[in-house]
């Protein structure tokens, strides 16, 4: 019998590439949960995920109401894509999502990043995506430590017990 030794998780690198409320919050909740457990966490925002750390956009994220098969009406019926396309529906649904999260004490994006960085978590932006969207450190929120390349990200991912998570 070979003895299997389990290595506890020590560091998580969490990549957020999308701007939907649910995709951004998945990354934020995982990062915050990690620092609360004493696990080192680094968040790396790329492509549309950059919205979550862009000052002008971070607290105005939406959830997609078109082409989202998980969407339901409040009574549980499927949510018709055509209804989701009507003006104001996406904003309404997004406001409802935020309200429901607030009831569970899940904070807005900026406050959530405050919590994560207070616990020692670090926030980075992807250089290629920032160049593509013409964003500089001035456009990004104060939580962002640096704009880095994918090579830099991998260089930070060393060490036993590290996992890279793409949300």
């Amino acid at each position: 019998m070979t003895e299997v030794k389990e290595i506890p998780l020590k560091k998580v690198m969490i990549i957020v590439a999308k701007a939907n409320i649910e995709d951004v919050y998945a990354g934020l909740i995982m990062a915050n949960g990690a620092v609360m457990e004493g696990i080192e966490a680094k968040l790396f925002f790329t492509f549309f995920g950059l919205d979550a750390i862009t000052k002008k956009r971070m607290n105005k994220l939406h959830t997609g109401t078109v082409g989202n098969p998980g969407m339901r009406m409040p009574n549980g019926w499927p949510f018709p894509t055509l209804l989701g396309a009507l003006p104001g529906v996406e904003a309404g649904v997004s406001a409802m999502m935020k309200k429901q999260m607030d009831e569970l004490d899940v904070p807005p994006v900026d406050e959530f990043l405050d919590m994560i960085t207070a616990g020692g978590g670090e926030v980075y932006a992807c250089k290629m995506a920032a160049d593509m969207f013409k964003l500089t450190m001035d456009d990004l929120c104060e939580h962002v430590k640096d704009i880095i390349t994918v090579g830099d990200l991998y260089a930070m991912s060393g060490g036993e017990g590290t996992q890279i998570i793409f949300t």
Partner: protein, 103 residues
């Protein structure tokens, strides 16, 4: 269930070291539990523990966000008081159940 002796009193604890019976809690028990983890409890620590106990008794769901807004300590301070487990460790020393929240 395991048994442990804190401050000369034998108490029942869960596998993770949380008190099974809330009535077993005292400031001395809390101080010895923390000492096992290498933390010396100060008045500031106890202010957090008292807050958690009050909130829990009132039936509130505990999160670090709530503690951060309590006016006792901010979130950064909470991490400094209870390194590696701001809510997990503070709840343990407060003699309440392990928090079931994700935030």
């Amino acid at each position: 269930m395991a048994e442990k002796t804190f401050a000369g009193k034998t108490v029942e604890v869960t596998a993770e070291g949380y008190l099974v019976n809330k009535g077993d809690w005292s400031r001395e028990v809390a101080a010895e539990m923390a000492k096992e983890d290498g933390i010396e409890l100060s008045d500031k620590h106890f202010a957090v523990l008292d807050y958690l106990r009050e909130q829990e008794a009132a039936g509130a769901a505990l999160t670090i966000r709530r503690v951060g807004k309590s006016g006792i300590v901010d979130i950064k301070g909470l991490y400094q008081l209870f390194p590696g487990g701001p809510l997990k460790l503070s709840s343990k020393y407060a003699g309440i159940a392990k928090p079931a929240s994700c935030v």
